[in-house]
């Protein structure tokens, strides 16, 4: 993407006014998407984001500048701006010797989305639309979207690292609106992987679309969700956002370091039920949050965060690992070349346990079964977190019964983790997600087996 000699000169230039560390992150991303709504293919859209972000670190200060001008002159200007922003330290010429690091790619790509005919993309949308609408006249609206991107990155730094990655992602999503006596309801399901167009060799778009329509139709019968604290069973593959919020963010070392995490100072302690082992794994082949290297050039890793209930370690980016004297964990990510990296999750999941999934519901007298989770949010300093239920049912006398309306569930992370008393054998990853932190969104995956929390607060309206 860029000449090595140019990179070396730019890094040297960045350190001219002082600094211990300089890094250049180059990104070239091509994206395209197609959307069908209201029975019409509304538009195809495509674009290219290309540029470089340069940072210089002096002590505890990071200076940063980015540019879309990838000529040597443009890069040197950004390097000087970043260097000036870091203000301080000893100046002078620095020669940087680069050595390329190759990390294993989590998977290959068989069909580059960029090579797929646009007509094929449109055809997919129309087939899904017809299938969803075939579920009945109560289906009033269907939206289908497919999107793909190819993101090539190159990272080089003054420690001599040079590494690159080629990340292809493909996504497909359907939403439907159903209308009935109780008003309108929605269904939604997305599927996405870090693969090319071969995704559609294994996804049956018509079946996917029909499931979405049926979800909306089912919810027309939904009654108000209960209000109060009760046992909650999460279905496998419904989405591990529960753990992403309950402890994932709280285990990001930057938040821990600032005293903004309830998990601070608890390494080595029992923080969860012994049935709980939570992993963050950037090497998980094809999952939405996987990559070969993170956006600082560190190889992706499988990091066990909590093992049999004991907190093993936090997640780090380059600066945090250096500050805390810990090894790199491959969690330094950024939304684009226009952003600074920070500690982010990749694919976060609860490992499968030994319980028979069917027995988990059967053993729950009264509660809520959440089949599909929506997004969530957490205050890592207090530990309070929420997550949404986009498809959920009552559990009555050990059976899944009536569908209930959407809402948030709320709990406190450290408390909820100790209240997990059953973990099923049926692990499955959930749909692709986008994690937002400090104004930056990055793609993440999550997964869970069927599990039960003995007490979570359900935010419904039915007393």
């Amino acid at each position: 993407m860029l000449d090595e000699a140019v990179i070396q000169r730019v890094l040297g230039s960045a350190l001219r006014s002082g600094g211990e560390f300089a890094e250049i992150f180059v990104e070239d991303k091509r994206s395209s998407s197609a959307r069908l709504d209201d029975g019409k293919v509304e538009e195809l859209s495509s674009g290219r984001d290309r540029g470089a972000g340069i940072r210089v670190v002096v002590g505890e200060t990071t200076g940063f500048a980015h540019t879309a001008d990838l000529t040597e002159a443009g890069l040197r200007a950004a390097a000087q701006a970043a260097g000036a922003a870091a203000r301080g330290g000893r100046g002078g010429e620095r020669t940087v010797q680069l050595a390329r690091v190759v990390s294993p790619a989590p998977n290959g790509v068989t069909r580059q989305p960029g090579d797929v005919a646009k007509s094929a993309k449109v055809d997919l949308l129309m087939r899904a639309n017809e299938a969803a609408r075939s579920e009945g006249g109560a289906i009033k609206q269907v939206t289908v979207r497919c999107a793909d991107s190819r993101r090539r990155i190159l990272v080089a730094n003054s420690d001599g690292l040079l590494a690159g990655d080629d990340q292809v992602k493909t996504l497909f999503a359907v939403s439907a609106v159903a209308s009935g006596d109780t008003g309108m309801q929605t269904g939604y399901e997305s599927v996405g992987h870090t693969v090319g167009w071969e995704l559609f060799d294994r996804v049956d778009v018509e079946q996917h679309a029909r499931r979405v329509a049926r979800q909306a139709l089912t919810k027309l019968e939904a009654r108000p969700a209960p209000s109060g604290t009760m046992p909650v069973v999460i279905g496998s593959g419904g989405g591990g956002v529960l753990f992403h919020e309950a402890c994932g963010h709280g285990l990001e070392a930057d938040l821990v370091g600032k005293g903004a995490s309830v998990f601070k100072g608890r390494r080595g302690e029992l923080v969860a039920s012994p049935l709980v082992t939570i992993v963050d794994d950037g090497t998980m082949a094809e999952e939405w949050g996987c990559y070969s290297i993170d956006d600082e050039g560190s190889p992706a890793q499988r990091n066990v965060l909590i093992e049999d209930g004991v907190l093993t370690d936090y997640m780090y980016d380059f600066l945090r690992s250096r500050k805390e004297g810990r090894a790199r964990s491959g969690n330094g990510r950024r939304q684009s070349y226009q952003h600074l990296p920070m500690v982010r999750m990749t694919n976060t999941y609860l490992m499968a346990g030994a319980d028979d999934p069917a027995s988990i519901v059967a053993g729950t007298d009264r509660g809520v079964f959440v089949k599909a989770l929506g997004g969530g949010q957490v205050n890592t300093a207090t530990g309070d977190f929420v997550f949404g239920m986009t498809e959920a049912y009552l559990i009555e006398n050990g059976e899944v019964t009536e569908p209930i309306r959407e809402g948030n569930l709320i709990g406190n992370g450290p408390d909820v983790l100790t209240k997990i008393d059953a973990v099923g054998t049926d692990f499955a990853m959930g749909p692709p997600g986008t994690c937002g932190k400090d104004g930056q969104g990055v793609p993440v995956g999550d997964g869970v087996p069927t599990l039960r929390v003995t007490a979570l607060t359900v935010g419904g309206t039915a007393a």
């Binding site: 940063f64 922003a85 209308s179 903004a260 959407e406 809402g407 309206t461």
Partner: protein
């Protein structure tokens, strides 16, 4: 690229793109440029300092009643040519729709708004750093229980944008914005709570660091000792910041696109009584005090005042040129874009409720059993604007016998959007222009379900 020259340069790029229109076609370009500074301080030092320019062009082509779109991050001529060609190619795959077409100048005069402060360009970086450091010092000194700072930032931007189309639209505008913001931690007896404070203006001299620090400290410390409340039904008093978020969601249900596509609960209800008689809601992006004000919309048409709800009666919706055309009316100057990477949608940009006459304290004094909601979470996960379900995490202060009582957290508030509008008991007098697409004001809503222990 700055000042008047900057706008002329962006318009020239727009002219160049619109000039590439072929026979039987319409072409539109949105051209944006901004210079942004972001400073984060920590423990008396600069932790991060970024200063950079961003720019881009988004190109729409309408041909044979089909629409295509493409974008790029540079303005090199060959990139513009390539991007127009890509948008044109994308258009050939859309389903023909006779209502598709770009906006045409509609004779509504642009209200000149003074949103740009020339002086921001000459404020030294050191002065900006000092503001952030001053905020950090002020927060730390505001209360002995302030234990730490999660973030303390100064941010500003000088942005400019132009929209030029082959159908005759040619407008440009520029604006400046700056803010300081802190997220702080308060601790007592082994417990930690958080709070935020901010001050926003068009330039640094308009910022009130002391107020931002006081707000952050107050919000964080008053949650100390908070416990989970029991479940029940209560009257809720929404703090202005929370009301603004609720109004933003409500505004989404009044978008012409949602109505057209059968996704709005208000689709056939113009003229109906949809809320309390105390509710009068207007979207007015020409209100210069609104931080989301802008003289023109995402298609380059003049922004204008759009009344939406009048004393509880639904007046109408907001439209862009497509939704207006399709619904047999016209654009209300409400095309919205999030940057240059997408086609314009429809949305409200500066919502506000007509304020009442009572202060928040006076409103609280009239409530026997209630809760003052200081902040909410999970708006994107527990609120469904199509079904109307509204369920969010919340924290705040219990109201008992007309007085603020114990702080409460880890609970949810739930109702439906439809019911909440009808259950509004009072609108406060404390209208506040906030950095989002709606102004805040205290709002009292009856009969909301609290889910706790």
């Amino acid at each position: 690229m700055s000042g008047r020259d900057g706008l002329e340069a962006l318009l020239a790029i727009g002219d160049r793109v619109a000039g590439m229109v072929a026979a039987g076609e319409q072409v539109e370009a949105v051209v944006l440029h901004s210079r942004d500074t972001e400073i984060r301080v920590y423990e008396g030092e600069i932790e991060q300092l970024s200063s950079a320019e961003s720019q881009g062009v988004g190109i729409r082509v309408v041909r044979d009643h089909r629409q295509g779109f493409a974008y790029a991050g540079t303005f090199d001529d060959e990139v513009l040519v390539e991007t127009v060609a890509e948008a044109r190619d994308n258009a050939s795959f859309g389903t023909p729709d006779e209502h598709l077409g770009l906006a045409r100048p509609d004779g509504v005069a642009v209200v000149p708004l003074d949103l740009f402060r020339e002086s921001l360009g000459s404020v030294a970086t050191d002065a900006k750093v000092e503001m952030a450091l001053e905020l950090e010092r002020a927060v730390r000194g505001a209360d002995p229980r302030i234990a730490g700072i999660e973030s303390c930032d100064y941010v500003d931007s000088l942005s400019q944008g132009a929209v030029v189309s082959s159908t005759g639209v040619r407008t440009a505008s520029r604006e400046t914005a700056s803010y300081v913001m802190a997220w702080v931690l308060a601790s007592e007896a082994g417990e930690t709570q958080t709070g935020f404070g901010f001050s926003v203006g068009r330039e640094p001299s308009e910022l009130d660091v002391a107020a931002a620090a006081a707000d952050a400290a107050r919000r964080a410390t008053r949650m100390l000792g908070s416990l989970k409340p029991s479940s029940g039904r209560l009257t809720v008093v929404l703090d202005p910041w929370v009301t603004a978020q609720f109004l933003g969601i409500l505004g989404g249900t009044l978008s012409g696109e949602a109505v057209l596509k059968g996704r709005s609960m208000f689709a056939d209800r113009v003229g109906d009584h949809v809320g309390s008689g105390l509710l009068t809601l207007v979207d007015d992006p020409t209100e210069a005090k609104a931080f989301s004000a802008s003289a023109t919309d995402g298609e380059g048409l003049a922004s204008r005042r759009n009344p939406l709800i009048d004393a509880g009666l639904l007046r109408g919706f907001v439209h862009n040129s497509y939704t207006g055309r399709r619904m047999g009316t016209a654009s209300t100057g409400s095309a919205v874009r999030a940057g240059f990477k997408g086609t314009p949608g429809v949305g409200c940009r500066a919502l506000s409720l007509l304020p009442g006459t009572a202060s928040q304290a006076e409103l609280i004094a009239a409530i026997d059993q209630g809760v003052l909601v200081q902040s909410v979470s999970g708006l994107h996960s527990g609120v469904n604007p199509v079904s109307g379900d509204f369920s969010t995490g919340a924290e705040g202060i219990r109201i008992r016998g007309g007085a603020l009582a114990e702080p409460v957290r880890e609970f949810t508030i739930a109702s439906t959007i439809q019911r909440m509008l009808l259950d509004v008991q009072a609108v406060g007098s404390d209208l506040e222009w906030l950095p989002m697409n709606a102004a805040g004001v205290t709002l009292v809503v009856d009969d909301v379900t609290i889910s706790g222990a």
